[in-house]
């Protein structure tokens, strides 16, 4: 086990991601943020809070997307009980920032984009991840905003802990047996 980011480092990284988002978008009139269930929303909750603070509490549309029904491995693994999808606004013609905690094979993001397109046709979709596991992609998906890049092998796993849910802020790399 190895710590990739401790609590202080994680906070700095999150601040940077939030600032980059504001820098690229300035106004959030035409930009919406969508967190991917279940673990991505812990990151997007934080980012949304920070973005609001940085940009002076402007109105920001924020939704949550569950991709369970869009997975490409439904038949080959244990059935997952879905989480809530809540997108209480139209994404038609908007810039959508998808947020997830760890980018690994790219399959989750593929599913998320399919799910997203069933809600409308966004003008542009961007991807923000906290940890980018480079060199492990199975689909051509790359992040627009990445908090931390790490080279890993398949038997390893990146776990992100959040204070709200797990009682601590930390990102670790573990070797699966």
């Amino acid at each position: 086990m190895k710590t990739l980011l401790n609590s202080g480092q994680l906070n700095i990284t999150l601040q940077r991601l939030a600032h980059q988002l504001v820098e690229n978008h300035l106004s959030f009139n035409n930009t919406v943020i969508i967190g991917i269930q279940p673990r991505g929303i812990l990151l997007s909750d934080r980012i949304v809070k920070m973005v609001k603070k940085i940009s002076g509490n402007q109105q920001l549309e924020y939704g949550r997307l569950d991709i369970t029904f869009y997975r490409d491995d439904v038949a080959s693994r244990d059935i997952l009980v879905p989480n809530e999808t809540n997108i209480p606004f139209s994404i038609e013609g908007k810039n959508v920032v998808l947020i997830d905690d760890v980018l690994h094979t790219g399959r989750t993001i593929r599913a998320a984009m399919d799910a997203l397109l069933d809600f409308g046709r966004p003008r542009k979709v961007e991807l923000m991840v906290l940890v980018d596991r480079r060199f492990s992609r199975e689909l051509p998906v790359q992040p627009d905003y990445s908090g931390h890049t790490v080279d890993t092998i398949l038997t390893q796993k990146v776990v992100v802990f959040w204070n709200e849910k797990d009682g601590k802020d930390e990102v670790i790399l573990i070797d699966k047996v």
Binding site: D78, L80, A115
Partner: protein, 309 residues
């Protein structure tokens, strides 16, 4: 997280956790059904056969829509225009369908227990869409789901089931389901249509419909199943309507506003009057709407077990 069963044969075999899991999943599918694009690609590699040895409008349509909205391929089979009329056995019929690479079977059959029999002989998951006078699990699930939507958690709530309890698979599945969810159940109707030992399932029996209605929060009114009654069990439909039919006058004489349900098809003017069926106390069309979401949830939750065997 998966269901504790491989097939959905009856509510009797489910546990509370299974039911909660189906409801939670159905909540999500209900949201999908309210979107402009009412479809997800979840089961695009699954083929489902709907095998109906008995007539059905609502259930077959509801299953077919549920399957299509999950992205599954669907084949429909009605016994009336098939080789069953040439004398083919149930197992042969189903095995021939499965040989064409079908993954899941939804079956309605007039013989009670037919899906249990089939489950012993085939590998595919089976969903019981009604067997004789035994069970109709998806109807009970959508009934309880609709009740919960209207009056909240069912624990401690009072449900009256009115009418042809004897020949109703909806009644039996409802009784099992409501008991597992902690609701109290009373059955009411003419004594000839209430099975003698029904109280052993933990339900109360009340022969006075008005009293039973005054007692309850929700009344589930059942259809008189004349096609299953081989000897006369009440004198005329008019007499039945007079003593056991639910009408507006009766509901208005009760102090509280109870919720009215009916699994359909309705015999208007017999077990329920139009002024009740079409009133704002009735959630009959909500039941139909929820039926698709519940069936999507059941099919989805049963679909994952295939490669685990």
């Amino acid at each position: 997280m998966t269901l504790s069963v491989k097939h959905l044969l009856g509510i009797k075999e489910l546990n509370l956790q299974d039911i909660e899991q189906i409801f939670q999943t159905a909540d999500n599918f209900k949201k999908v059904l309210q979107r402009p694009i009412k479809k997800v690609p979840t089961l695009r590699d699954t083929t489902v056969a709907n095998i109906f040895f008995e007539n059905s409008t609502r259930t077959r349509l509801s299953f077919e829509l549920a399957e299509k909205r999950l992205g599954a391929d669907v084949v429909n089979f009605a016994a009336s225009n098939s080789s069953v009329s040439k004398g083919e056995t149930l197992i042969d019929t189903v095995n021939n369908i499965l040989a064409m690479k079908v993954d899941m079977v939804v079956m309605r059959h007039s013989a009670s227990g037919a899906p249990w029999f089939l489950a012993q002989h085939i590998d595919a998951s089976i969903i019981n869409a009604g067997d004789g006078i035994n069970e109709h699990p998806t109807q009970a699930l959508l009934d309880a789901f609709s009740m919960r939507e209207r009056i909240g958690e069912l624990k401690g709530k009072r449900i009256t089931i009115i009418g042809d309890i004897m020949h109703s698979r909806v009644a039996l599945s409802n009784i099992y389901c409501l008991a597992k969810l902690g609701a109290e159940v009373t059955v009411t109707g003419p004594p000839t249509l209430i099975p003698r030992h029904i109280a052993s399932l933990g339900v109360k029996v009340e022969y006075n419909v008005k009293k039973a209605l005054e007692w309850c929060d929700v009344a589930n009114v059942l259809r008189i199943q004349l096609e299953r009654q081989h000897k006369p069990l009440f004198s005329t439909l008019r007499e039945y309507a007079l003593y056991y039919g639910v009408n507006k006058q009766m509901l208005d004489s009760i102090k509280k506003k109870i919720v009215i349900m009916h699994p359909g098809p309705i015999n208007r003017g017999v077990e329920i009057n139009s002024d009740v069926a079409d009133s704002n106390q009735s959630i009959i069309l909500d039941q139909v709407e929820n039926g698709v979401a519940i069936r999507m949830a059941v099919i989805y939750l049963l679909s994952g077990k295939r490669e685990m065997e």
